[in-house]
Symmetry: none
Subunit: 207 residues, 2 copies
DNA sequence: ACCGCGCTCAACCGATCGGTTGACCCGGCG
DNA sequence: CGCCGGGTCAACCGATCGGTTGAGCGCGGT
């Protein structure tokens, strides 16, 4: 039985590459592609039954981000979500797994590795890149400052210099909620303003 | 006459995607692929005459980076180098152009755009993504991003998350003066708040 | 001597941020 | 089942920040 995939990535080039790689390893067919989280959700709600696994990038230039989309797909009882991205920072990995992703792969993986991972994820088996596993172990060994997935997202926005209003729009929440998150972040990081929070987050390699 | 391309990117997925995209727009053939700068240089020195343009990523996980490779190819009188990457920071763009690249494209460009750019680059015509052009204009408008010594000091303080009052105490000036400096800094960096200023300053290696 | 520029300061105002209280929903856990 | 934590939101207030105008000082160059 062939595995049917929904590709979510804002780069046409990457989508084409993944399509080529996946369909060349056999027993995989890319049934649909989406350039961001919003479109992916629409596609799933319309033809969810025909997708065995979602292969999702985390970084989206615009539109709904990968984390948000993953959360919603999982919440809606959709197909398993396999994160396929470029970065392997602790913050990204933990946030993705907390959001409910079934796996976390790096884009520089070998084609066969990616193919095997897609089959595993579709079957509900968790998959992690070796380097990702390493970072995860590193984390459990040293229980650092624990920010929630949502808080990390907020922090990322902060680092770009976004205002509360811009942050709210970006994450589809109200300014009030952004402020609530900020208070928690300041508390956990031991600071009292956004710039200091960004500074501390960089120091602790949270972003 | 078909344009012959050498692809340099450390991600197999991206190479596959670019190959698919380029060869689908017509009159382009990907003659060779290299996973890093070193391999690319070897290929060129052995079969340089058969490459019309090098399509190069900047970020390479390991091995020789894209900047270094571009410099050497240009120095050796090799084919034009078109940078195709994910980021559009001023630092990256300026560095690439200084290294001698003939163009700078973003990976989220449309396939047809990329195809046209490859043809242009091969013919020796410079090409830039719109957003890249915007950043460059931004840079030329702000003359060399030349901040005064005092402004750099302020910026350093900003980066630590200090308030205007703390900054004033630290530098033995009044809050009013701090605010004046800040306005000038925002102006020169093209931003409108302290966190964004710090972000931009990091990008441009001003701190 | 004059001009330009960087640095300094003041006063003012609207916009944004920081902080608090209180509330609701949901999912996981004992 | 009830509890708790995470996420969401509202309303409110004082503090801080962003932006403007206007002005004085000292230093270096034409």
């Amino acid at each position: 039985m062939t595995t049917r995939v929904l590709l979510v990535d804002d780069h046409p080039v990457v989508r084409a590459g993944l399509r080529a790689v996946l369909e060349s390893v056999g027993d995989i067919v890319v049934g649909a592609e989406a350039p961001d989280g919003r479109v992916a959700l629409e596609m799933l709600s319309r033809a969810g039954g025909s997708v065995d696994v979602v292969v999702m990038d985390l970084q989206m230039g615009s539109g709904m981000g990968g984390l948000d989309a993953t959360r919603r797909i999982v919440a809606a009882g959709g197909p398993p979500v396999l994160i396929l991205t470029t970065y392997d920072t602790q913050a990204d990995i933990v946030a993705a797994l907390e959001a409910g992703a079934i796996g976390y792969l790096l884009k520089d993986s070998q084609p066969e590795t990616i193919g095997a991972a897609v089959h595993d994820a579709a079957a509900g088996r968790p998959v992690l890149s070796p380097s990702v596993t390493a970072r995860l172990m590193q984390r459990v060994r040293s229980p650092g400052t624990s920010l929630s997935a949502r808080e990390i997202e907020i922090l990322r926005g902060l680092a770009t210099g976004a205002s509360n209003r811009a942050l709210a729009k970006e994450l589809f929440i109200s300014e009030a909620t952004v402020k609530t998150h900020l208070v928690h972040i300041y508390d956990k990081l031991g600071v009292d303003n956004r710039t200091a929070a960004v500074n501390r987050a960089r120091e602790e390699h949270l972003i």
